[in-house]
Amino acid sequence: MADFADPGFVVGGRSFTSRLLVGTGKYRSNAEMTAALAASGAEVVTVAVRRVDLDRAHEEGILHHLDPARWFLLANTAGCYTADEAVRYARLGREAGFNEFVKLEVIGDQQTLLPDTDGLLVATRTLAKEGFKVMAYTNDDLITALRLEEAGAVAVMPLASPIGSGLGLLNPYSIRTIKSRLTVPVIVDAGVGTASDACLTMEQGVDGILMNTALAAARDPATMAWAMRRAVEAGRAAYLAGRMPAREVAVPSSPVRGMLD
């Protein structure tokens, strides 16, 4: 057969070919970040909105290293703990002028960075009414995922495990359930640690994965990005190919007939 060709997926009316979305935080240097981004093959890269440091005003913002013509910049509301705060950050991000998409985070707890799902729903409704295309970071709870879709989210982004933990996919069953019940794309966000995590996640049938720390904190981010790109592609292909059923008994692969006496 020809090479596996993935047509990609559509979020909020925009189509993307790469199912790997990447963050831009925590890299040891801008050079390491740009090398990793290029190796990842990603189209969507996330950025955060923060105060300009007035006393080092000549220090460059991230846009000095990311060409908005090459990357689809997805502003996030990371660090926001209330719906109001997240809405304020989303508006600032949109005003920066690239698109109406926002990766919405409303965090409920500093230690786990787990989402405040009440705040998330309130902010999603507000932003959807204002014309935002909300991609909502949430936990792996089906009911919240369904409510986010109903509230107008264009994508639901359940975690594999807590942000920055690298623990991998803790609950494949709930991710699969969410994917099977939602109409909007499901993009797993957070928790992936290495390539096998990404592959296993994609094998659940989700539309994509967003990761940051798994690349930024790897010893060699560009090489990890290379691996992640292929893991995501392999996981997607394996999902589409349809895996064999798992059995707890052995079944011979060679014929049992025709053996010598």
Binding site: G23, T24, G25, K26, Y27, M33, T46, V47, A48, V49, R50, R51, V52, L54, A57, H58, G61, I62, L63, L73, A75, N76, A78, R88, R91, L92, G93, E95, A96, I163, G164, A190, L210, M211, N212, T213
Partner: protein, 70 residues
């Protein structure tokens, strides 16, 4: 007549030349308006309106940009 006024920018009190607009604040801070977003008294001000927005003593201004994030 010109003087000075105090504006709270990104949580810090700072002195600027008066009369001031959001545009003159950015100029004094040597910031390029194309690389930042400005919020004045909790209201986002579009780039085209920066020069026409007067800043008064004690006003709160936030100046943000994009940084690395996940």
């Amino acid at each position: 007549m010109t003087g000075q006024l105090t504006v709270v920018v990104n949580g810090e009190q700072r002195r600027f030349s008066a009369p001031a607009t959001l545009q003159t604040l950015l100029t004094e801070l040597t910031l390029d308006p194309r690389t930042v977003v400005v919020e004045h008294e909790r209201r986002i001000v579009r780039r085209v309106d920066l020069a026409g927005t007067a800043v008064a003593e004690g006003d709160h201004v936030e100046i943000v940009h994009f940084v690395g994030g996940g």
